[in-house]
């Protein structure tokens, strides 16, 4: 598939004075179909792609993924689901009421993306989003390890969100051109929301890095904690090679340059350096996870597994 080089190349975080709501984080022209600037919160009902719509299309047989597209949807659905689970823990614990709402919103967006991708992935063999979320075991999850990293303090959460949102933005804006119409549709909706996530995290990177001595130290620490897991986001494998050849997706490695450039601009404005850390070996796409995921799944799945077959 072609990479939309024309978009998001002229944005610079340093062109602006960095006041709240003013910083550009590379959003110009983002998204698919020329409506990248449309509000994620004001989608007309006819355009909103809900997980229920996807489930309906899947059950009617009008949207059936092939095995490779299903595996891609599973990977991306798992990424979003695990992150939503992590972020939702902040609700009622955030530093300000406004952040309870903001982090809750981001978690809700991620959960929405997860539900869409998982519903589509399940179309391959008839499993529902809940079958996939609640009744798979740890080694069957395909999320990369960055998403399952613990929340830590607010700076660690922001650092993780910063890396995730810039990665997801680059990924989804390309997937919006996917030859798989459902992947394209989900990504086109998601990219608008992830754009806000980028803005939120970039604003906080600046505030924390340039706020107080303590916040700066914590921000530096937060980035150092999560950055070993950034490398895994951009690793190609056999599946991504086939998907790329088929025009369904791009090679993850092709996102790296834009990611580095755009995160680099924010970090430069924040007077921070890209953390000099060794990359972790990863393996999430093959079901090899860090020690943290098991606990997260135990909590998430406990009730559903107490009542197998029940509906809620």
């Amino acid at each position: 598939m072609s990479t939309p080089e024309a978009v998001t190349t002229n944005a610079s975080a340093t062109d602006h004075d960095g006041g709240h709501g003013e910083i550009s984080v590379g959003v110009a022209g983002a998204g698919a179909g020329g409506d990248g600037m449309a509000s994620a919160t004001r989608i007309t009902p006819g355009n909103a792609l809900r997980p229920e719509d996807i489930a309906l299309a899947v059950s009617r047989g009008t949207a059936t993924p092939d095995a490779d597209a299903a595996e891609l949807a599973l990977r991306l659905g798992d990424d979003a689901l695990i992150l939503a689970q992590r972020l939702s823990h902040w609700i009622s614990r955030a530093p300000e009421l406004e952040e309870d709402i903001a982090l809750g919103n981001i978690a809700l967006d991620q959960l929405g993306h997860a539900r869409s991708f998982l519903t589509y992935a399940g179309g391959l063999d008839g499993r529902s989003e809940d079958d996939l979320a609640y009744f798979r075991r740890e080694h069957e999850f395909r999320s990369v390890q960055l998403f399952e990293q613990p929340n830590g303090d607010f700076a660690v959460t922001i650092a993780r969100q910063f890396a995730v949102s810039y990665y997801q933005f680059e990924l989804y804006r390309r997937l919006a051109q996917s030859s798989d119409a459902m992947i394209a549709g989900i990504a086109a909706k998601a990219v608008k929301e992830v754009d806000y996530h980028r803005d939120h995290s970039a604003q906080w990177v600046l505030r924390l890095a340039l706020g107080t001595e303590e916040s700066r130290a914590r921000m530096i620490h937060g980035l150092a904690v999560v950055w070993p897991y950034v490398d895994e986001l951009f690793r190609d494998d056999e599946l991504t090679g086939r998907l790329s050849d088929a025009g369904v997706a791009v090679q993850p490695s092709s996102l790296r340059a834009d990611f580095d450039r755009l995160t680099g601009e924010v970090l430069a404005e924040a007077e921070l350096e890209v953390p000099k850390v060794q990359p972790a070996p990863g393996g999430g796409r093959r079901g090899l996870h860090s020690e943290h995921l098991g606990y997260l799944l135990a909590e998430m799945q406990v009730l559903a597994r107490e009542h197998p077959g029940a509906s809620w």
């Binding site: 004075d17 960095g18 823990h89 009421l97 539900r115 607010f154 406990v302 559903a304 029940a310």
Partner: protein, 350 residues
């Protein structure tokens, strides 16, 4: 905007409307102050008689202001503390759809807290101070949130009964005489009615599910019934603040009146659920045309208010912990904003 239809602004502007910033610069003579108070009181009385609205800059009796700050901030605190029992189940919600709905609901509650703190701020009380009073245990919040959310079915019972009781209490507040409060309540009530429906839906699904699910639902209804009824406050003959609040058009119906009405609604809806209410004395009194219910344990109510409920310590500790853990973040945001303001000011000079 729907809220405007509920607002009855007096035809003439208030003679007593004043700018407090001007007042502080021009010290008033005692005679002028007395005249202003008399004019203000006359205007206030007329607004009450006309069942119209007082706005933030209108003159108002000190006790009216104090009552409103107390009530609105308590309401805001209830929203904020009320996030906790439900947040307790977000990470364990048994389906992704339920997880999504529950997250949105708890997020709404944070939003309600924000509107209400803002409404209270129009009366001159800063949010930081209200938060501090909550954490210091000086301010109250609804006692209902000091009960634990033990099972998933509690998400249903809280939505159906607790939010249901809150709606019965709050719909009349949309007509409260203090404008910002009434308008905030319009939005709050709209969202609360969604919350109640989602709670009902959770219980409906459970009560028509497996025997274990139905049992879970009945158990939750049994535990939340009496605390929900007590949310309307003590019986009328033991409610010291009610009379004055009704005279000020803040409160429109008495505690017992609202409670009885609520019991009647529950009785109809519980049939649809196929569950029962744990009260054999519920009946419709043909003579008074009112619903009646069995005795409530008001000693327990007063115990929980006094801080001896199951979750009082836990709820406050969670709020304090979140606040303390977030202190460095708020300081950073303030320091950054200040630096940016200086930078911008320097740019303008240059």
């Amino acid at each position: 905007m729907a809220s405007q239809t509920l607002q009855s602004v007096p035809a003439e502007p208030s003679p007593a409307r004043h700018d407090s910033r001007l007042e502080s610069r021009h010290e008033m003579s005692p005679e002028d102050a007395a005249r202003r108070d008399a004019e203000g009181q006359a205007y206030f009385d007329k607004v009450m008689a006309d069942d119209s609205r007082i706005e933030p800059r209108d003159w108002m009796p000190a006790a009216y202001r104090k009552t409103l700050v107390r009530q609105i901030s308590q309401h805001a605190h209830s929203e904020i503390i009320g996030m906790q029992p439900e947040a307790n189940w977000i990470t364990r919600a048994p389906s992704l759809k339920r997880k999504s709905i529950l997250m949105a609901k708890v997020q709404d509650e944070a939003g309600h807290g924000l509107y209400l703190y803002s409404a209270a701020e129009t009366l001159g009380q800063p949010r930081d101070q209200m938060m501090q009073d909550l954490m210091d245990g000086k301010a109250k919040y609804s006692s209902i949130f000091n009960y634990p959310a033990r099972t998933w079915a509690d998400m249903g019972a809280i939505g159906w009964m607790v939010d249901g009781a809150a709606i019965a209490n709050q719909v009349p507040l949309c007509r409260a005489s203090y404008g910002p409060y009434g308008r905030a309540m319009v939005r709050v009530c709209k969202e609360e009615s969604f919350h109640q429906r989602q709670g009902f839906e959770i219980l409906l699904e459970l009560s028509h599910g497996t025997p274990a699910q139905k049992q879970m639902a009945q158990d939750a209804v049994n535990r939340w019934y009496a605390p929900a009824l007590m949310m309307f406050g003590p019986p009328d003959d033991d409610s010291p603040n009610s009379k004055q609040s009704m005279a000020w058009n803040i409160k429109r119906f008495s505690n017992d009146e609202l409670r009885n009405r609520f019991v009647g609604m529950m009785m109809e809806q519980v049939k649809v659920l196929g569950l029962t209410l744990p009260d054999e004395d519920i009946r419709f009194n043909e003579e008074t045309k009112k619903w009646e219910h069995g005795p409530l344990d008001w000693d327990e109510f007063h115990e929980v208010i006094a801080g001896r409920g199951q979750c009082n310590a836990q709820r406050l500790e969670r709020r304090r912990e979140a606040h303390q853990n977030g202190a460095w973040v708020r300081e950073a945001a303030a320091a950054y904003a200040e630096k940016q303001a200086k930078k911008n000011a320097a740019k303008e000079v240059a």
